[in-house]
């Protein structure tokens, strides 16, 4: 899923955190439709829930338990049991994993304002259980979470679930359909204070049918190739912990740690305000021996330490105060923790590079077509030829990064079989600029047109390690084609707001893309997200009075009726084959439109970890976007003691620098 936030700094191992549990998220994407009817007096959560269920009988259906068998007759039940595990079932439990976070959380809520900070990975996204989960090595396959089995009825666009009878909240309460009903009530409630969820849960699901405490079904309005994932890949909330939910709940729940289905809980005494938060593993976690869950979540404690500066965090890692540190930046991997570094040569710290295969953040230049002269296609194509991301990949990332072929790279299949980025070619760029009227070279080497306008654009981005360097490289190279970039680096919030309001000319940004089965195009490329009224009533002619639509992710303001039609068909496609065919056509149109200049991607993760951090064979799961996300590592306290003693005494171990390329896309 596309994340409606810019890519966060590559500060931590947890860099590409998903906004909400199991990927249901997108802050601020579509229009917020939450109605906020005035509620004179709130009768309490249970009473309000009962009333809501009654009022919305078309959505909440309750059927006798006996109907379950008849409704599911003829359907095939699945439980993912034939799939291979991706963790090491023999991994040892124990030890404390110390991980850094750049800010102290502003809330322990996992939903609502301020809830998308880095700590949510450890409270929800990476740890809590959905009904079912994507198999990270086999896209399109699912393994059980809270649901022990499921059956899909494509005819009725419904997925039937059976909850695992053993599923428990961390306080011992069983997980039942009461929690499922509550979760829908909660996510659709006007008191939630998070319009995105209101909208998502209102539009994505059309009915919830409950049969008994463990059996229920979810119906979607449309048949989708990933119907099962849409129905089952979300985290329920515990009904019994929300007795005082209602208006004002955001404040009441600000610092409340709620019962969870995750293996880690937070005790009050483990909170050091402003400094650290330590989570403790539930030794009797109900899923600890379940297939796909065993061998994961191994450390007894997760200590999340607040370190506000990446450089300081790196020093803390070198001291041994942190166990794992991401070395994505070339300076970290090649210089600050070079292979010749004493920590590495003496075997205390191990370096690993793991090629993953997962949708990549789409770094690139987003040209805003709503800002003339960027409405000129030739000029935009010229900017493609004038932008040297190849140099950035070769010499800034030292050959490790690749120029993206399309803005949707990294899915299991190529969204277009042959398209690649236009190469850097100043001569070709000048031809195209000349076609757009920029023919005269000024004294500073920048082209001008007959009206005296210089070929100069503001290039907006935000503070993030490396951004100023990359943009400085692009600026210098672009001048070879007579194009000037004026670099404007703002703080992240300001920059992203400017881009979402479509007030930029050229933006350098990426959206995080969740590991869904196929890419989304509507958010970034449909005219409905570009302008209020994109076309005149004929549906084709651009409306001369149209206004850019704020707060959407169509940051190129592309509005093309042919593209709109394709995207609509794409969004209503029912099979993956259809999706793939349409994606090729969409990508072709996007390539012709030339409003997104292909940037770079690093299709791997790399990190340093102290010798006592143990990894399974093969290191990680294919779709792992950071080393911690899948929680397949373990901490070996004996090795920790041994290493620290050896370091003190000057004894060494064989160095370990490993590359895992089994998932490298050839």
């Amino acid at each position: 899923m596309k994340r409606f936030q810019p890519v966060l700094p590559l500060l931590t191992l947890t860099l590409l955190a998903v906004l909400t549990g199991c990927g249901k998220k997108d802050a601020g994407a579509g229009p917020a439709t939450a109605a906020n009817p005035p509620v004179p007096s709130f009768p309490g959560m249970e009473a309000d829930l009962a009333r809501t269920v009654k009022e919305q009988a078309a959505f909440y259906a309750f059927k006798p338990a006996a109907d379950f068998a008849t409704d599911t007759a003829g359907l095939t039940w699945e439980d993912g049991s034939q799939l291979p595990e991706f963790a090491d079932p023999a991994a040892k439990k124990g030890g404390t994993a110390r991980i850094w976070i750049p800010d102290y959380p502003r809330t322990f809520r996992t939903i609502g304002p301020d809830a998308t900070g880095g700590i949510r990975d450890y409270l929800l996204d990476d740890v809590a259980m959905c009904l079912l989960h994507r198999h990270p090595n086999l896209p399109g396959s699912y393994y059980p979470g809270l649901a022990s089995s499921w059956a899909v009825s494509t005819a009725t666009k419904t997925v039937f679930f059976r909850l695992d009878p053993a599923a428990r909240w961390s306080d011992g309460h069983p997980v039942t359909t009461d929690d499922i009903v509550f979760s829908f009530y909660f996510m659709r409630s006007p008191h939630l204070g998070d319009p995105w969820y209101n909208d998502f849960y209102a539009k994505t699901y059309s009915r919830l049918t409950v049969y008994d405490p463990l059996s229920f079904a979810i119906t979607l309005p449309e048949l989708k190739p990933d119907l099962l994932e849409r129905a089952g890949f979300w985290v329920p909330y515990p009904r019994h912990a929300f007795a005082d939910f209602g208006p004002g709940w955001l404040d009441k729940f600000q610092w409340r740690f709620l019962p969870t289905t995750a293996p880690y809980v937070l005790h009050d005494e483990d909170i050091e305000k402003g400094q650290s938060i330590t989570l403790t593993r539930l030794t009797d976690w109900w899923a600890r021996d379940r297939k796909f869950w065993r061998g994961r979540f191994n450390p007894d404690r997760l200590r999340l330490v607040v370190i506000r500066e990446p450089d300081k965090a790196f020093e803390a890692f070198r001291r041994g105060d942190l166990d794992i540190f991401g070395l994505g930046a070339p300076t970290l991997w090649y210089e600050k923790l070079a292979d010749t570094d004493e920590l590495v040569t003496k075997g205390y710290v191990e370096k690993s590079k793991f090629f993953n295969r997962t949708p990549q953040p789409n770094w690139g230049l987003w040209l805003n077509e709503a800002k003339p002269p960027l409405d000129n296609r030739d000029l935009r194509e010229g900017i493609h030829y004038a932008t040297n991301f190849q140099l950035v990949c070769d010499q800034y990332f030292r050959g490790d990064a690749v120029v993206m072929s399309t803005s949707s790279d990294g899915f299991g299949w190529r969204t277009h079989p042959t398209l690649t980025a236009r190469p850097f070619n100043p001569a070709r760029a000048r031809e195209l600029f000349a076609q757009a009227g920029y023919t005269k070279q000024g004294p500073d080497g920048v082209l001008t047109n007959a009206g005296g306008d210089r070929l100069s654009f503001h290039l907006l981005s935000y503070k993030r390690p490396g951004t100023d360097d990359i943009l400085a490289i692009l600026k210098q190279e672009a001048l070879k084609a007579g194009l000037e970039f004026v670099i404007d680096i703002q703080d992240a919030t300001t920059a992203f707001k400017t881009m979402q309001e479509k007030n930029h000319e050229v933006a350098y940004i990426a959206l995080n893309i969740d590991a869904e089965l196929y890419p989304r195009y509507w958010e970034c490329y449909h005219s409905a997200n570009a302008y209020d009224t994109p076309y005149l009533p004929d549906g084709v002619t651009p409306n001369p009075a149209r206004k850019p639509k704020p707060d959407t992710n169509n940051m190129t303001s592309v509005a093309n009726p042919a593209l709109d039609a394709l995207i609509t068909r794409y969004d209503h496609a029912t099979t993956l084959d259809e999706i793939k065919t349409l994606a090729v056509q969409i990508e072709e149109l996007l390539h012709q439109d030339a409003s997104w200049v292909n940037g770079w991607a690093q299709p791997f993760i790399r990190l340093g970890s102290w010798r006592w951090v143990k990894w399974p064979e093969g290191f990680n799961a294919m779709q792992a976007r950071d080393a911690v996300e899948m929680f397949v590592f373990s901490i070996d306290p004996a090795a920790q003691e041994e290493t620290l003693a050896a370091r003190k005494a000057g004894r060494t171990f064989p160095p370990s620098i490993r590359v895992f390329d089994q998932y490298k896309q050839k």
């Binding site: 004294p443 210098q476 300001t494």
Partner: protein, 357 residues
Amino acid sequence: MSAAFYSRLSPDTAAKFRRFRRIRRGWWSFLVLLAFSALSLAAELLVNSRPLVVHYQGRWIFPTYGAIHTGREFGFDYDYEVNYRELQTRLAAGPGGDWVLLPPVPYGATENCNVGEVFKPRPPTWSGRHFLGTDQLNRDILARLLYGYRTALVFAVCYVALTYLIGVTLGCAMAYFGGWFDLTGQRLIEIWSLVPFLFVVIILRSVIPPSPGWDLWVLLGIVTLFSWISVSYYMRSTTYREKAREYVAAAQVLGAGPARVIFVHILPNTLATLVTFIPFTVTAAISSLTALDFIGFGLPPPTPSWGELLHQGTGNLNAPWIVSSAFTALTVTLILVTFVGEAIREAFDPKHFTTYE
């Protein structure tokens, strides 16, 4: 200094100048700073990717200032600015008596000097003429230091001028007119001085988009908004003292207006002490520009600046030539300015001219 120079000054001022010259540490610091400044103003002739002279097919070309010359003019197949180092190599190998005379350091401040190689800091080399090494984008550090110094110098000079213009005018006016004007002015200043400077800088920088050529002036304007307050306090108190003296009353009786009294009569009598503040204001200007660049709210990249170099240096401690160059340059400059400041203060110290009877 010549006798003619002194003879044009009032005896009092001339005496102060003589005293200043006799304080050798301050005087030499002053000369060194002057030399640095002169060098930086002529930076294009010393450190530049453009040559001083090109002799090509019978033409004499002086590319240092003015429009770019494209590669095509010199027989290359591209339309952007010619790479003169490449041209030099080609002409030197060729037959025809053409040549290129490059400056002592043949690199620009924003230029990738190692085309085709990985971007990473490289240590100083004498043969490559990177006397202070290169930074993480393969740019010459000496070039960035020198051009950065010029930026800082221009900034400091304008900062001092603006700060004193506003501070002196407002300070004098408040004291001279007194009454409700003074009262209101003081309260407004108190409010103004409580505005958190850094937040305002951050907000204003995000509202005002960068615009090549104007960024320095915008930044100067923002910083100056807050810098004049202490000067105005000082001028207000001295003016209160001066305006009670007879010569002010005499001027008023003769019909002089407020502007004349303030600028022609009061100001010259307070100038001596005001001058002693100037070097410290210069220090403040350089420090704040460097600090703002360091935290990323100064001039937009890739403008050469000391703060940006320091920032790079602290992030690349394994490339010590970056941080040591920037740190040394900054420290030396600030120390020299401080020496000058001390010398001026001593030279202008009224105790040397007052005797008690």
